[in-house]
């Protein structure tokens, strides 16, 4: 027995929607078929068995949310045949990602993080999901908890995973801003959430005017994404951003020395991507 379709190692592409393709397997055999399938990509693997009355089977339903190499072994009462095909992905555009985020509650600010950090890309030019050096997968570079196979290949599920983490930071922001029954605006919540995504609070309480204000102890280097200077550090006091930038910029490309007078700061990160 042998396969008539598809071709050996034929490539199928997940659309940017994402919509998984039909992959119609057909043998030259007859009668009841058993289809043993395994889809593998890197450390991720899923397998199963389907049975059909005839010699045709569409794998779409079992491969939805997965990608990589799909191996199929067909068996009938006369013999077996094996084949493998490849499943790759296509990137969504910015509008598709923003439209998806618009359907998600509590996502304000996360679109800016995605734009800054991932440029809305989920797949490499090869059609495989982006994978960072520390095993961060997909658009949201999910690392911990270890993403599922589905989150690695379905960019919408990947965003859901990122949003879950963002929501944690948003909850932190809410508990911080509402302490002692203080009030805050939606915009303040967005800045506070994005700042905490990178690290640390954005606002401080202005007791005199009874409102939250941007923290006054940090001056940001607007040439960078999240570098700033603590104005509590005497070495930084009385100096302009330009002066401090000129003093410290050569150090930015090296690991930060603990005695450095600049620091990474979530408030500067929020300013950088939200302003």
């Amino acid at each position: 027995m042998k396969f008539i379709t598809p071709k050996l190692k034929e490539t199928f592409t997940i659309t940017s929607a994402p919509e998984w393709p039909s992959i119609n397997f057909e043998t030259d055999g007859a009668g009841k078929h058993t289809w043993q399938w395994t889809i593998t990509w890197g450390r991720f693997k899923k397998s199963g068995t389907e049975v059909t009355a005839g010699n045709k089977w569409d794998a779409k339903s079992v491969i939805t949310n997965y990608g990589g190499v799909l191996e199929v072994r067909a068996t009938n009462d006369k013999g077996t045949a094996a084949i493998s095909v490849e499943i790759k992905g296509a990137n969504p555009d910015r509008a598709a990602v923003n439209n998806y985020l618009a359907t998600k509650a509590n996502s304000a600010g996360f679109d800016k993080i995605l734009e800054q950090e991932a440029k809305f890309k989920h797949f490499k030019a090869s059609g495989e999901p982006i994978r960072s050096f520390d095993n961060g997968y997909g658009m949201c570079q999910l690392t911990t908890p270890v993403p599922t196979f589905e989150q690695v290949w379905n960019w919408k599920l990947n965003i859901d995973g990122g949003l879950k983490l963002f929501e944690r930071k948003r909850n932190e922001a809410i508990s911080y801003l509402q302490q002692q029954q203080r009030t805050y605006t939606a915009e303040q919540l967005t800045y506070e959430s994005v700042s905490r995504w990178n690290g640390g609070p954005y606002h401080e309480w202005d007791g005199k005017n009874a409102k939250w204000v941007r923290r006054s102890d940090i001056l940001c280097d607007s040439h960078t994404g999240n570098i700033g200077w603590s104005l509590n550090d005497q070495e930084n006091q009385g100096k302009t951003e330009a002066e401090l930038h000129k003093r410290d910029k050569a150090e930015y490309s090296k690991p930060r020395h603990k005695d450095a007078h600049w620091k990474y700061c979530g408030a500067c990160y929020a300013d950088s991507i939200l302003d």
């Binding site: 950090e117 508990s175 990178n198 640390g200 994404g225 930060r256 603990k258």
Partner: protein, 178 residues
């Protein structure tokens, strides 16, 4: 070879949620290095005594990371040193916690022949969503008692937790969760 850093810390702080302890003659000089996921502290008290011990961090701190700050909260002469050591968080994808910090409140008993860490509490964590809430860490030297106010918990279960930690004459700590 790790480089040792010498810092001198007075028991007063102008910023942060650490306590505003009265300025006294107390002064602790801390010398530290980091190696293999441990930080080795060398404390020298005003009285001239040296105490050396190595303490663990956790999985949210890179194995080779040096403290970004060490702040002494208090000292019970001849009994205990209380301090907070803070480290950069291990960053995640998309700059998650790239500027985050992980901080540990520790009590070290110095009443015996060797200093012993008798208490450790996470008081700051970008990775685990822990931070001090106002008024932060309160140290009452007369009662040898710490009160720690923290935001803890994830998602909608997040709340303020107040812990009262009493230090006995051996430098041991008893935590009474609030």
């Amino acid at each position: 070879m790790p480089i040792a850093f010498l810092i001198s810390i007075l028991l007063t702080f102008t910023a942060s949620l650490l306590p505003q302890a009265p300025q006294t003659e107390n002064e602790v000089v801390v010398h530290y290095t980091a190696r293999s996921s441990k930080t080795r502290f060398d404390f020298k008290t005003k009285a001239g005594k040296n105490y050396i011990l190595a303490v663990s961090r956790d999985q949210n701190v890179a194995p080779n990371a040096e403290p970004s700050s060490v702040k002494v909260v208090g000292e019970i002469k001849g009994t205990a040193i209380i301090f907070v050591d803070t480290y950069p968080s291990i960053p995640g994808g998309m700059s998650f916690c790239g500027a985050g910090e992980e901080g540990f409140l520790r009590i070290v008993s110095i009443s015996g022949r060797q200093p012993i860490e008798t208490f450790r509490m996470k008081v700051e964590s970008c990775r685990s969503s822990i931070e001090l809430s106002s008024p932060g860490i309160e140290w009452d030297p007369e009662k040898a008692t710490l009160r720690v106010h923290r935001f803890v918990g994830l998602d909608d279960k997040r709340s303020i937790k107040v812990s009262t930690i009493k230090i006995d004459q051996q430098g041991k700590a008893e935590n009474q969760e609030g």
